[in-house]
Symmetry: C2
């Protein structure tokens, strides 16, 4: 099957010889075994990469595992994504391995070696940026990976699942405009996340299409958490010309807005309309229940897991691999869910 | 090492011979391999049990995995428990395998065979009842297991981690009494869960010690979810002699009470005080933030994971095993966290 001269495919024996190590050392590196020195590991990885080595799939039987990796497990989002992956795993008799890298950055070398040892069927990564060496390692071992990218900023050469942030911001804002609001504030997420910018641009487009202007003071950048929603809302609602509606950018920020309104004695929705984003479970349990943009987190995670299984099948059928994977980007639609936190503005306009 | 006549220990060869199968078939059953007929599997398991067979630990290298198993992944509780197990796993270089059995009952045979194949270091089970055959299978393979038992009803012969439900109910109720409330309602959980009954008994004891009586109509059984809190609160608060305070039995039920109060135009805490139970993250994000009984879910899960690692070490040091495991029951304390949903009753008493 393997021919040293055929179609640019390199054998492990060639890699071993060029690296000046034994074949068994190369095999250890491939399988993430710990008993190889760091310089040797790096040299072998470089040669595997230079030659574009890719393990025949399946070279060895995979374990019936799907991995899901988070920067940080939070109580709202993460659970929905875990449930999605878990549900596909259950259908197909697989188990789910969960890792939290514990930083805002990409997973470290330890994690990759662990994956190489475990040989899962595939890896679902919940973050946008993936360092090159990590991508190469997974690719050369024929371990498929998919990014769930709620931040809207996927690597171009990695298959990913996202959702329609711009359209979500547009729908939220149009809903408020249709109710009769004119003075509408927005609290989006961090300025360096594409999803924040996309939601904000959706907001601006809806305002622009309705011929409405937005004062700069009404545009706020938060961090998607409760406290920043609360802080910005306190400022917005204490101003003389306070807005009659706030598009809060995330459900957690919306909860912070509700609390600010309560502290200031404003009734929702009579005195202030609030729209969240995400539709996490607690959006329906808040008081009042939140009007919000539904982001289908469970379905996104299910799709990511199914994508892995498809990539693996395709990989078995066709060794061309890389190119085929790179094209895949699935974007889920978002939709507005109207509950009890939005209504027509009070007669005469609360802010006048 | 192994002697067929020593200390009642049976060899696998003896089991094979008594079952009329090959040694390799016995080994397949031990390792959860699928290619064994169901009757053979049952016969071999019975013989292993009859002879009290217990695999020498470690007979084969375990995988660096801890398993955590839920009936059902919900968005509030489960995440806290996962985070606890994950944090100990990260400290010790282990990965976490997550399973949802998808029923209110115990995990099925499929799941057990999967565990036997994966050979984790141990299993954390988040439910009270464990069928005998499952316990026997894990025990005979020297796979330690610990129950996290928030329901307060552990199997007597399984190591478990719980928390002090009675003391929590007592603390919640005393807080309301100290604030000056006399007409206090309670919504506890299902009548068939010990933790519901323990919280209710804590409530009754606090009331009794203060010389207060509780009308039967003020004692309610919910299901720990938002809707049942809402339904019971609507009934309680519409009555002529409505309570001035409600101990809601769970944070989710407390959210339902907040919503009922909002719908009925009652202010919290001015017109009604509410105490939750659990202190899940959203308890601090609700509006107003909930006074609640903190149940240390993350710490309970961390302790369960550490207990597994200790059991495994003890097992390696001492083959006596079973007896030592059975004694272990750790109960975590609960404490009241006072936030913004409780205050003195309105002057004159809102209900008079």
């Amino acid at each position: 099957m393997r021919d040293e001269t055929s179609a640019g495919r390199v054998t492990l024996a060639q890699v071993a010889s060029q690296a000046g190590v034994s074949l068994s050392t190369v095999s250890k590196v491939l399988n993430g075994r710990p008993d190889v020195s760091a310089p040797t590991r790096i040299k072998v990885e470089e040669l595997l990469d230079t030659h574009g080595y890719r393990r025949s799939a399946p070279a060895a039987p995979e374990a019936p595992l799907i991995e899901i990796v988070f920067h940080e497990l939070d109580s709202t989002w993460s659970m929905e994504l875990i449930r999605g992956v878990q549900s596909v795993a259950k259908e197909t008799g697989l188990s789910v391995v969960l890792t939290e890298t514990g930083t805002r950055h990409s997973p470290g070398a330890d994690w990759v070696e662990g994956v190489l040892r475990r040989r899962p069927l595939g890896v679902v990564l919940v973050f946008s940026t993936l360092p090159d060496d990590l991508k190469k390692k997974l690719w050369s071992r024929a371990i498929p990976f998919v990014i769930i990218d709620p931040a809207g900023d996927p690597e171009p050469d990695v298959p990913s699942v996202g959702s329609a942030n711009w359209a979500g911001g547009l729908a939220a804002t149009r809903h408020l405009i249709e109710l009769g609001h004119r003075r509408i504030a927005v609290i989006t997420g961090p300025e360096d996340m594409l999803c924040s910018l996309a939601r904000l641009d959706g907001f601006r487009s809806a305002m622009g299409m309705a011929g409405l202007e937005t004062a700069p003071a009404l545009v706020r950048f938060g961090d998607f958490h409760v406290r920043s929603g609360h802080t910005h809302a306190m400022e917005l609602l204490r101003a003389d010309d306070r807005p009659t509606a706030i598009f809060a950018g995330s459900d957690l920020q919306a909860l912070g807005v509700l609390e600010a309104a309560r502290v200031l004695g404003l009734r929702i929705p009579e005195d202030l309309s609030v729209v969240g984003y995400d539709d996490i479970p607690l959006a329906q349990w808040s008081s009042p229940a939140l009007t919000t943009v539904h982001q289908p987190l469970v379905e996104m995670a299910e799709e990511a897991a199914r994508m892995l299984l498809r990539l693996r099948r395709a990989d078995r059928a066709d060794q061309s691999g890389r190119a085929e994977q790179a094209d895949t980007r699935i974007e889920f639609g978002t939709r507005l869910v109207v509950r009890d936190s939005t209504a027509e503005p009070a007669a005469g306009g609360a802010a006048r």
